[in-house]
Symmetry: D3
Subunit: 332 residues, 6 copies
């Protein structure tokens, strides 16, 4: 039976491929991408922008699963190796919540804090906002109160309390496709009430020779604690005359004051170039949502949605990523 | 010589491929798509969003033919098998109409009513509206009066009078790319004067767990009469942050009061996934415009434009499609 | 009791003031404007953009009456002199129509054709369009079918059949505040089915030294038959950086082919200058909707809405107006 | 010296004028409006959208004071009679906050909760949001943490805890002029952390015969506790082709569950009609921000900003206002 | 006969009123405003945003004259006292230019450089740009080449060469109502070819506690040479939810390097408050276009257009204005 | 060592492929496209919209080189055959210019005039405009003054003086993605001051049966002098509901009065159809920026950017291109 215990160090089941010869990027793609492609199961046209965590002997996840209605809902899923996923055919039915067919749910993140797993996602309650739920077994999910007023997206919890408080990153937005957006952090004593909102970092970069994140930014996977600070992988967006392009970047935040940005990549780490990234229902999207960290080896498996169509994987070494971020940093 | 008689039942020349093994959709693609690809004839870069009907021993059609001017005009075409088409190199020159180089013509539909074939299309006369013409031989075409005031698109005639009146579906719009749109039906005693306009169905669906048709909808092929009602195949559109996505849906309308929707698919039947649908001059478009129905066998060949670039074919069994529509219906 | 007979010639009750000394305009304002001011009756904040006709010994009218809901509905009204109006406190309840609280009604016109009075107005039925009704006594009103599909405003009937057909002017629009708009004319054998839509005239004028009607135009009062043609008073709109400005203009249409414009004023006849025109709920609006014509004397009393707030009156002599239109004409 | 004690019942200094003869509205204007007109003091061009409370022997207030920079800042002010105000020439300098010249402050509300006065306003911290401060003497103001993430406006505290929690109304918005907006309520144990956000009521009304509040709504004065529930005066906005019009409305909220709307006026109570309301820097604005309640007599003095230019006063009897709201209610 | 000689010092005909008692502003209004009101002459509805210069024994000017076409054209005019103006009934017909009825002309400036008067204005040649002409007698005007490519407005020449070059301020814009705009300066050896374009100053001010000029700015009268630098009076614009508000500001530019801003008012000097400024065809506009300077006395008469409807006058002492600008300056 | 001399006639190193059998277009693609593909060198993700010229024994070029910052800068490059390019890893550092990290540089053109090479590009100096520089060796580049005020793009110099003046084509635009744009030509005596701006040709074509260039147009390679006139290759853009499509066209301008258009293709010559054109960071872009002309043979190698991602090559014979342009011309 599955038990909510920590994955072993140097886990042989950790999803991983070494950097290919000739590849110079600090982040590189899984060769078998997408790991969850188009029409992965009956009546489902796409699974993407989803979250995974170590769980029991393997991995569990919460997946943005798009049926032929194109209405986004969350499904639980399981994998032994992080690559081959069994997704539940039915969406998660949250306890403590009256079902409402108009409530969409997309772009989940999952974090383990102490002995519980918390989900955050963009939920629709008269406008998109950050919804929350908790589970210990990925079978029964209890919905909690929404963290924030609308309009908000990309809510990402820190994996532990800081100074006795819970912390959550988010990106206030509008009720449409949001052509702007900065990252904030908020604090809570109880995961219900939130305050002490601080600006973490802004979109922009054109005064320091950057365009890739000039339109909006949003936090991605759960921040990873390192001796250098919290490693926050995020997405940055540029608007072209033919639409947005979403790329991956990274920042390092102060461990105790996570609204302080110590370093921030002045360039993207991964941008849409593969066919499954440049073509699909929303072309030119690389959208990181989750990362697995094999602490003993420093290996990092970063999951990202591609083109709002499929789920992909990329890899990095945490130390390399930290070094790169420090050496190619512009904080503004 | 070609004669305007009905095609035989169980016609061996009916374009058809059985559902591939493993395919679960109620509508499936022709394996040789596109049937009319890029640059199909000299000086023509694309033929798409076009209409075909049984005619003589084979099929005739009216095609949106885009030369290197990218100006849309209609060309007649002929085929013995519905797959291999000979398109006239010159656009249709309508009698009863002074030529005007500023009058575009696109997205035609063709219907046989009694002994005559009627064309409807989006014509430009100080704004897009529903233009009409008639022919008996697909060689000489007489233009009729425009049915409606601007701004309108996707005018689709019913194949017979209902209660002594002609009926036409249409989608009132604006003079641009129209980020909204519902389907109406109008009546006429003479195909010249139109009135008794009724709303048939609205875009939307977000309160019943759908997003695929939330932006606009428009009728596609000529409605098919069945014992259950008029089978109306249509397109539904969602706006993403990187553009519209056009998918195929279906509804069943009351035989005598066709503004009454009996059933309507709560999900799309076909959505852009093939390369020729996701990439082209207008990416992510599946736009059904015509259907051939082999009544004895219930086979249905649905023609659709892909990516405003080429002409494709898909198949279904009418009975399956009706069952699916009834079993996956949300009327709102 | 009131009888629907024609008003006598040279009616002493005709609302009239001679042109003030020093006034040079071909159209001049009533000195007691507004004739129906703010808060004219309990619970009503404004009456404007309304229509009047001779009726019985005096005048009857249909009024856009705005209560504190600001929801526009139509009320009947009565006057002996065209200046002092008794407005019914309750909105018109149309027979032959299921009441629907979401159906607004605004900007009415009224015309007598043969022995019946016809109302046209902008009605909301899943989008603004031209609604119609008829009455013989201004007490009982029977709703007819909408003339056109949405989106349309400013539907104006001609006061007699032309070539055996009814004719209606209208301005196709969009579902918002419509930053464009031209005048069309349509024909009907029965006031139910409409066709043979023709463009009458376009907004514009910047190539012939005009800006006052560059954004949109719409027909106003019922066209007045004269030996020179149909005298059509209309509104022209310019968009400034701080909003639209609505002014009054005139055109003369061919008697038999009313889509042919013989003359069209190259300048406005009246533009917002009085305080009740420049200030109000929609500043800078002069919106003519009705005209009384005293044929024996050639006197013309033109009713117009001011600033979407109150009802005003202006005067002209028909012959002067025709001469002015011919002498200051630019047809484009 | 001023002492923060409650004003006496039936205070002779209460600002008041009885309803004028002939006035039928449940709310009527002060005859000497504006009480603070244009250029009320040196270097100040306007004071509006401001808040007052009983304080000591008279009244204190926090005022949106616009100097010739047109940059909005808050100034304290004092009055013995609620009509004649002495405004401090310098803006409030908040303790516990590093001054930042880019931080604007506008549309304040003030509430007394227990022994302290709390200010809420729209503050700019990388986007408009609800800022907060407290004072006991209106001389020293301590800034507190912002309540919410951007983008938010019209934050209004309830005057007492409900079920042990503080409650605040607010209207999430965007970073511009916000063409939409609904009222929410949030809860806090400590005035720092906020959660349990509930939708209170939406803009709209077109399906129940209203247009005056179809574009956006926002809470105004501090809710007034009555046996019928919380009396919430608010503003509703309609967008015309020439801009927004802001009017005053009212609702009654459940005493214990203030997100439950018991009654809500289906029409406005006051709309821009006076010259000082229809003309000014933002024409056609009536914006209520504060109300004084003389409990023994039921008299209510409602302060509102007019045309973003001056400060005005209107009156009502609470019981009349409650009766009117109940009798003219549409909850949607 | 009129001779183009300089006006005498301390000219008794200089238009002037001393600052009224109680007036604290550095700029104050003429008590008889508007000096050219609505309908100042037959067929003309407004004259505004116009330019005047000393000429002969009195003053000459070039006026934006709006007939009932609302098409802007330039008319010459004459005055003995700068208050009472005789405007030519016919627009200026430029020599050296083929007449084109689509070429509008508005917002002129006039400057004397050496023995010639130069006009600059916003002319329409496939987009608004800076047109130029010259005259010595205000009777014959020779059109010169346009200075810049579209899109540009508010071109203002300096009154003498600087370092051997002519200098012109301008505000690049777009082809609509331009919701942005900064002031640049360009140089020319010959008034035909222009280059060495430098940014002078930007719109904005929100980081230094200003909003009045946050949307766009544009130069107004011809810069006035003073020992402190070039005194440039300009307009600054804020966008409110109900439109733009245009106010007057001032800056002092370096005498030799006029792209260097030495001082710039951190607040407006005059903002729409009078009825003729807040109401009209474009409400809330104060638009300075010309200034007369009585050097011996330091008196300054600043002409400005009000509400795109009429011509007004305001006064200041140059020294006061310079002191004010220096003492209330924020350069950004 | 490299010397700035003209390339030999009939140069065997000229990049060239004959028209493939079956290819009917007057312009055809290089079979090895893209010649500079994705990630062509370390830290560079794309090189496109770039300019090449004969230089020394081979070719030199200036390249829009996009690193992972996505900030566009110019790099010099070298090639012996026009196909295999060595791009400098560092961007060009211009002398005579203070470096500013906010100044982007993109879409360069290069022309040799007499003994010097001139660069023009879209540079950002408080808005996009036409920046210029000169070099003789492609190693040292001296920046010159910007030619025009913002907002401008696609500045293209003629390769020799005409009537003693330098001439430059450009396309005035706005500060965003510019949904409009026409081509102008300006003159200069010294490459510093520019004037005598003339409209060359407008976007459009819908009245002459064209849509491909209806949204905007911009000059491409340096015009090629022929006996028929200047051959100007340009891009034309259509806006679809899913974005812009950029195609290639051609015009022939009068040799002495290059603002006179003698012929202009009524259709495109090349439109996005290859995968590298339809997919990439900006899908559906064919953007010609440079052409090599082998005068003795009439061969033309046209370089174009594809999808804002890579650099491609196409071929034509000049005589064929001129004949085609003359035979398929519509000047409007």
């Amino acid at each position: 039976t599955r038990r909510p215990v920590a994955v072993d160090a140097a886990d042989p089941r950790f999803p991983w491929q070494e950097r290919p010869a000739g590849e110079t990027g600090v982040v590189w793609r899984h060769r078998g991408n997408p790991v969850i492609g188009r029409n992965p199961m009956p009546e489902v046209q796409g699974i993407y922008n989803s979250a995974v965590v170590p769980f029991g002997d393997g991995y569990a996840g919460v997946f943005r699963t798009e049926k032929h209605t194109r209405f986004p809902l969350l499904h639980a899923g399981w994998s032994e190796d992080g690559l081959d996923w069994q997704i539940e055919p039915q969406p998660i039915r949250f306890t403590n919540r009256t079902p409402d067919p108009s409530e969409y749910a997309y772009d989940p993140r999952v974090v383990r804090i102490e002995d519980c797993y918390y989900l955050t996602w963009c939920g629709g309650h008269n406008g998109p906002t950050i919804s929350m739920a908790r589970t210990t077994d990925f079978r029964s999910f209890e919905q909690m109160d929404n963290a924030f007023l609308p309009f908000n997206r990309n809510g990402v919890l820190f994996p532990r309390k800081i100074g006795g408080k819970y912390f959550m990153l988010s990106r206030p937005s509008d009720n449409g496709h949001t052509p702007f957006g900065d990252i904030y952090v908020s604090q809570s004593p109880d995961l219900v009430h939130w305050g002490k909102h601080e600006l973490v970092m802004r979109k922009g970069g054109d005064t320091v020779g950057q365009w890739w994140q000039r339109t909006k930014i949003g936090a991605g996977p759960i921040p990873i604690e390192t001796p250098e600070g919290w490693l926050m992988i995020y997405h940055g967006v540029i608007d072209t005359c033919n639409g947005f392009v979403y790329s991956m970047g990274a920042a390092i935040l102060d461990l105790e004051q996570p609204w302080r940005v110590l370093y921030r990549t002045n360039q993207h780490l991964l941008t849409p170039e593969a066919g499954y990234e440049t073509t699909g229902h929303v072309p030119n999207v690389v959208f990181p949502c989750a990362a697995l960290h094999d602490a003993p080896t420093g290996r990092l498996a970063i999951y990202y949605g591609a083109a709002d169509t499929c789920t992909c994987l990329s890899y990095a070494y945490v130390n390399d990523l930290i070094d790169f971020t420090k050496n190619h940093s512009a904080v503004f």
